[in-house]
Symmetry: C2
Subunit: 242 residues, 2 copies
Amino acid sequence: MTTDCRNCPLRKFDLFEEMSADELAFTNRFKTGEFTAQPGTEILAEGASSTQLYTALEGMGLRYKTLEDGRRQVVGFILPGDFVGLQSGVMGEMQHSVEATTRMVLCVFNRSELWDLFKSNPRRAFDLTHLASSEEHALGEALAAVGQMDGTAKVAWSLFRFYSRLSALGMNEHDRVPLPYRQQDVADAMGLSLVHTNKTLAKLRDAGVATWADDALTVHRPKELAALARSSGYKPRRRPLI
Amino acid sequence: MTTDCRNCPLRKFDLFEEMSADELAFTNRFKTGEFTAQPGTEILAEGASSTQLYTALEGMGLRYKTLEDGRRQVVGFILPGDFVGLQSGVMGEMQHSVEATTRMVLCVFNRSELWDLFKSNPRRAFDLTHLASSEEHALGEALAAVGQMDGTAKVAWSLFRFYSRLSALGMNEHDRVPLPYRQQDVADAMGLSLVHTNKTLAKLRDAGVATWADDALTVHRPKELAALARSSGYKPRRRPLI
DNA sequence: CGGCGCCTTGAAAAGAATCAAGTCTCGTGG
DNA sequence: CCACGAGACTTGATTCTTTTCAAGGCGCCG
């Protein structure tokens, strides 16, 4: 019924480090099932101590924190191959919530076996640490963008990043990638108001740089978009897949 | 000459998880020496692949990224007990630079032994992952502050965080903690201009909430500062010490 | 048909950046 | 011993980006 790790459709992408047959077998034993989340569903809640960890197999979601005053900070967008729930795995509870934007299929792992993984498979344990570090890296980049860029650069940065990440996942067809998020999501990720985000998107569209409509992003001038994003050719960093 | 981990002055603080004698002995073997950095010195450079990892033992420093246009984003402040260099350890290179603000003493570990650590001591490997996750958590909090708060809240948040972290390290004497950073550092951390940061600090001082002068922060009204920081009693999260 | 969610647009208000001096302290060298 | 310069902190005035406020439009589903 569920996908065997050996047949995982994500493995073929360059983005992910290759795995030995052993690692693959081990990971497959570690995987206890699959979980399908409907759009709008909360997968993990901030403050909750989940007994499960996930790897996104299909679909897209987002991570966010809710502040005391009700404002929302989107701390990341989840695409296929992303690992979710590590915080609750090692620290006891999640520091942000995770929500499915589209329908998602996730590989499920039991937290109780995490400790076994560290004991019996140092290679995979190392990979897990690598993933945590990659997350940290991504957050650092986002922090720099939110802290230092102006509105136009922030929006361009978001679009360029989606374009690059999704392209690396083989979802680019004729400079067009799926983008099922709402403008509010990008606004909350970049610390901009919805109104300003909307007007900035209109400017990028009118300038013929990129068009985001109908749940898809078309990048007409990648070079220009990258320049606006102050990002000379972003290449998603190669990382392990778990 | 160097401090034996068993006599580490940081161990006594509640902030850090306790260690068994075994773990302590292991960590001590892992430690290859100490390194003293002078104020203003670069300890690790962005993009560099360091062969060494560190734990700050004394002194303070900061992590920062430099953007294409020369702007600087401070991604974190390093206090005693903080682990530095994990990114280069697991991902191959640093994603930000690390600089000593005051004179610092750092415990040195060899990257080449990191892999051994994963193979031979899963408990410490798990702790390392825990630390990576803690870093991620801290960055997420910072991102939310930078993305969602206004100037006053950002500055109050920074001060409150320093106050809490330093208090947990036993550096609080009569509501006063050492704070050797420059206003520019806080400005670069929170995505504010130096001028605006300065004026906001003046407001907090005039309001009798907190005074930052002469490399020390005095918090006259902790409750009010926490409220301004939209942070109901922040308690630094317990974590391993390596 | 009506309501809801999301996108769009204009106008006004506010918050923060930039510009431009000026002060203070401290270490250096004449 | 004092003039000098560097680095950090202050402060006022101006400009501009971004937010907030306020509507309206469009598509979809019950």
